[in-house]
């Protein structure tokens, strides 16, 4: 019975440790991918803006040249043709100016996306790396201790050992996380609180995030909880 309990505990711990490691790896990949995508979007928008600026300048150059030709034109029939050409060129210039304006807006939109993503990643990256590292380390240690338990002990003794080791390690992990991660957790909370996650004029405020999380049935650790923890730890440190 004790053997089965330890095996089940070991398997559960290993599953959770693997899940934490896999999570951290996928999140790191996702954050790197998001950065690349944002960079690519900004670059494409900038290239489009540069191309359209060149188109606009060419149209303006042709218009000016034609206007200059008209000013020097002695022949009335030729002047009529030039005036008609100028009307078309002005329309073309206006269209290209509008397209250039859109491209400039696209650059601003893309740059906003990149800024918001970078701020978010900057806040999340330490939380992901440190919390997953602390959790994975604690779970690996727990797995080692479980493997070292002498199964010749009586069932109840083994169970007590398992529980004691687990509680000690989990408590230790919590203590380590409190020391290492809380600064970043506070930063993370501030990021949400101050609505840094806005994209394209639609701020993802803390209430919006919480509403979305609630809708997705994802329990959310409120910003105030993090802040309370931070203040609590601060008081403990002062004491």
């Amino acid at each position: 019975m004790a053997d089965d309990a330890i095996k089940a505990e070991t398997a559960a711990v290993r599953t959770l440790r693997d899940a934490v490691s896999g999570y951290a790896e996928r999140m790191r990949e996702a954050m790197a991918s998001a950065r690349r995508d944002a960079d690519t979007l900004v670059k494409r928008a900038e290239e489009a803006a540069a191309r359209r600026k060149a188109d606009l300048e060419r149209a303006l150059g042709t218009l000016k040249q034609t206007e200059s030709e008209l000013a020097r034109c002695p022949d009335e029939r030729q002047a009529i043709a030039l005036r008609e050409k100028i009307v078309g060129l002005r329309r073309l210039t206006a269209e290209r100016g509008q397209l250039h304006g859109y491209a400039v807006q696209a650059v601003k939109t893309a740059s906003g996306v990149r800024t918001d993503l970078l701020k978010t990643i900057q806040a999340l990256d330490p939380v992901v790396s440190q919390n997953s590292s602390v959790a994975a380390h604690a779970l690996a240690s727990l797995e080692d201790h479980l493997a070292a338990i002498d199964l010749r002990d009586s069932g109840s003794a083994s169970t007590r050992v398992v529980r004691g080791v687990r509680d000690a390690l989990v408590t230790g992990a919590f203590a380590a996380e409190s020391v290492i991660g809380l600064g970043h957790a506070g930063q993370f909370a501030q990021t949400i609180k101050h609505g840094y996650l806005s994209v394209d004029g639609h701020p993802a405020t803390s209430s919006e995030i919480q509403a979305e999380q609630h809708a997705a049935s994802v329990e959310y650790l409120a910003t105030s909880d993090l802040m309370d923890r931070e203040r609590h730890t601060g008081r403990e440190e002062l004491a």
């Binding site: 505990e9 559960a12 899940a19 934490v20 996702a30 991918s33 939109t109 993370f188 979305e212 994802v218």
Partner: protein, 70 residues
Amino acid sequence: MTFPDTQRQVENAGAALARAAAHTPGWADQQRRDFDTHLMKPLADAAVVLSIVLRKAQEAQQKAERLMSD
């Protein structure tokens, strides 16, 4: 990857972590709650926040694409 692909990856990562944490036996005690609250929960929250920002990034990308299209 595109923003939607990345968003799916993030959501899958968060869901897989939640599944693994939910089905771990023998942890129904205060320490387990501490472990969840202070280590697991910030990880799950990170996935949710990144997913939301990626969805907004996708919306902004679509707007930028429309502005860039001829």
